[in-house]
Amino acid sequence: MQIEMKNISKSFGPNKVLRDVNFSIHAGEVHALMGENGAGKSTLMNILTGLLDFDGGHILVDGQETRFKNALDAEHHGIAFIHQEMNNFAEMSVVENMFLNREIKKGFGMLDMKEMKKQAKAALAKLGADIPVDIPVGTLSVGRQQMIEIAKSLMNKTQVLIMDEPTAALTENEIAKLFEIIRSLKKQGVAIIYISHRMEEIFQISDRLTVMRDGLSVNTYMTKDTDVKQIVHDMVGREMGDFYPGRNPKFGEVYLKAEGLTSAGVFNNVNFEVHSGEVLAFSGLMGAGRTEIMRAIFGIDKLDSGKIWVKGKEVHITSPEHAIQNNIGFVTENRKDEGLILDASLSDNIDLPSIDGFVKKGFIDKKADQDFVNMLMKRLGVKAQSSKDAASSLSGGNQQKVVLAKWVGSGSQILILDEPTRGVDVGAKREIYDLINELTDRGTAVIMVSSDLDEVLGFSDNIAVVYEGKIQGEIATKDATQDKIMTLATGGELDE
């Protein structure tokens, strides 16, 4: 079987997420699909598997124009998608999961468990996986759950198997096992689309390789004819405008120091320090553990071990309340979920972390509180009719300014910003950078977690690159390039 996707385009509202993308796959080949987060890989695969419709272009299956109506239709054509987050039902048994929605029945609608177990065992045996079929899937390791997914798709006579970051949660042994299976599937003529960020694996397992960037398919190579450097360049290679206001830092004392921060299975032995006046960027791919490190520092999640010093004094932060007392502020990644009370007024959002400071004789001093809110809204340039407006009525950029106002108002000297400009329009972005400059000029230490490489390179003093829960490397921004960061972010080492 051969599939060709030609000039595929797709928009979500005004956003063009795919533009004239070309991609092909034929029987018995492993084709790797690479690109930064948001490059369009998932959208392309969702189109191929019938989960999304497309606006323009053609899909040819064995030369014949095809448009899958839905996921089931694609499945009938022999295309299977193993998602990164597996859609298993943890409480149901292995066999129940494998036959979900395609149960074998005897008369009167009764399930034929015996036959299903037989077939499930056979499918697993083919993969050399020795897994009992009666136990709940949730009790198995991620690697074994993946085997089950693969076995399930093989039972359906899959001809094209799409794997999204299949090794993300596997141990080395499990990865070796998975590669063995992939090679044997290849021999049986199955085509495999392999999505991964891990360079090493890509070069180990793939025959061809396509790089996507900003909704375009940049290049397709025979894996043996290319190298990591080329791929990294294709992944990040775009021009950076002089969009950033520039940094002119004056470092003071160390405001926050972390040593050996560990949370089992999430991040491991994280060490760093950030000075007064510094912007320390945390770069890395999605899921590398950056956000989790910050959440633990702020007391939202628990640390297993490690030490934190604020201005040279060791602190044991166990809750956000406690972090705020230590003058730490945290602009979370997801402002609608954790940053704002959407139905509440701007005023009620902005003064929340500081409200205890406005108590006079047991009651809230309304006037002082209102003056405080007005001052902050003016200082941050929040565009709204009145401070009584609901937070939900503002644009993304203005909402983000409201979240920032909260933490500027609470007097944070250490400010953690997780994706501070995500979903923010260009004008508001610039204002946010200007504000960060103003804050660091006054001595605030800023930690900026960002998935936007341009932003990291354009607006920070030092860059810590996180890979799989550890800091793979730290570089001064003036010495950093996109290639260097990408190399670190995909688990590589820098040469010098």
């Binding site: 939202i300 979920d337 954790e338 009620d348």
Partner: protein, 322 residues
């Protein structure tokens, strides 16, 4: 998602949230007084206020709970248990005022127990308080042996009887208690950081937590308040009946929740005013009193009350859809 739509349609739900409770109360009062002239009689009004006090007190506590998107079904059982507790103390020779105090503290502890389970057990308030409703009621039956607790000390003691039976300047004493506690609840909710944090917790618990609100402590305090106010109502009722009844307060959670919802507070949390709850309690009171005056059978009364609550809930849904 349609940001371009600027035309604002008249929204029944939104209107009700703003002015509805007061308007509904007014219409109800006019309707009942037209249908039965003795409704506006001073004696009846005093009677009405007396009836309202107990429910209003419970509803003030329920208001805090519902603002956090929670619910407390155990209020009626707490009322009974703390009442029985105080009555037992009096029988054993404790001065009534002290016994009332002990009973109210007991109620606060029962409420704190709810709060602990909800905050630390991360259990759904509905289930926790459904369970403790049964536990506290069962404990009341154990304590009372299933019989009313009463005795000569209760029938003769002035300080015992004044709370639920006494009048001051022609107004039942319990009405003063209700007014004072309303004022405190109002100030607490609308003028202190405690109230602000309650709204924040109900509006978005995660965001409130990240902003430094000690959400666990707050939840425990709120359920403690609900328990305390139920116990105050329990003391009043015990005094009024000169006995602690094992089945006192059965079904009272219904009237309290109804008062809060009729007062325009959203069951989804984060929205609602204490004044609305006071009006809601008045609506329930007038409804009960009016139906009694009109001679409507208590069977039908239940149906009418249920329908009124349904209408209020549907209006609440309409408002939040906007």
């Amino acid at each position: 998602m349609n940001n371009t739509e600027t035309k604002r349609k008249f929204n029944v739900g939104e209107f009700y949230a703003k002015l509805g409770p007061l308007a509904a109360l007014l219409i109800l009062v006019i309707l009942v007084s037209v249908l039965n002239s003795s409704f506006l009689n001073v004696n009846n009004i005093m009677n009405l206020l007396q009836q309202i006090s107990v429910n209003a007190l419970i509803a003030f506590g329920m208001q805090f709970v519902i603002l956090t998107a929670g619910i407390d079904l155990s209020v009626g059982s707490i009322l009974a248990l703390s009442g029985a507790f105080a009555a037992q103390m009096i029988l054993m020779g404790m001065p009534p005022l002290l016994a009332f105090l002990v009973g109210m503290i007991a109620g606060a502890i029962f409420g704190a127990f709810n709060g602990l389970l909800i905050a630390y057990g991360k259990a759904a308030p509905f289930i926790v308080t459904l369970a403790t409703m049964a536990i506290f009621r069962g404990a009341t039956y154990v304590l009372t042996n299933g019989n009313p607790i009463t005795g000569p000390k209760m029938n003769s003691s002035f300080s015992f009887q004044f709370l639920g039976q006494g009048y001051l300047f022609g107004v039942p004493f319990q009405v003063y208690i209700m007014i004072v506690l309303y004022a405190i609840a109002y100030l607490l909710l609308h003028k202190t950081t405690f109230g602000r944090k309650t709204y924040a917790l109900g509006g978005n618990e995660k965001a409130a937590f990240v902003a430094g609100v000690n959400t666990k402590k707050l939840l425990i305090l709120i359920y403690t308040i609900a328990g305390f106010l139920s116990a105050v109502a329990g003391m009043i009722l015990t005094s009024q009946l000169a006995s602690a009844q094992p089945d006192a307060g059965t079904g009272y959670e219904m009237d309290a929740i109804a008062a809060v919802v009729l007062g325009g507070t959203s069951l989804a949390g984060g929205k609602g005013k204490m004044f609305g709850t006071l009006v809601g309690a008045l609506i329930i009171g007038v409804l009960n009193n009016g139906m009694n005056l009109l001679g409507i059978s208590s069977f039908y009364q239940q149906i009418v009350k249920g329908i009124v609550i349904l209408i209020a809930v549907l209006l609440d849904r309409k408002q939040s859809q906007n």
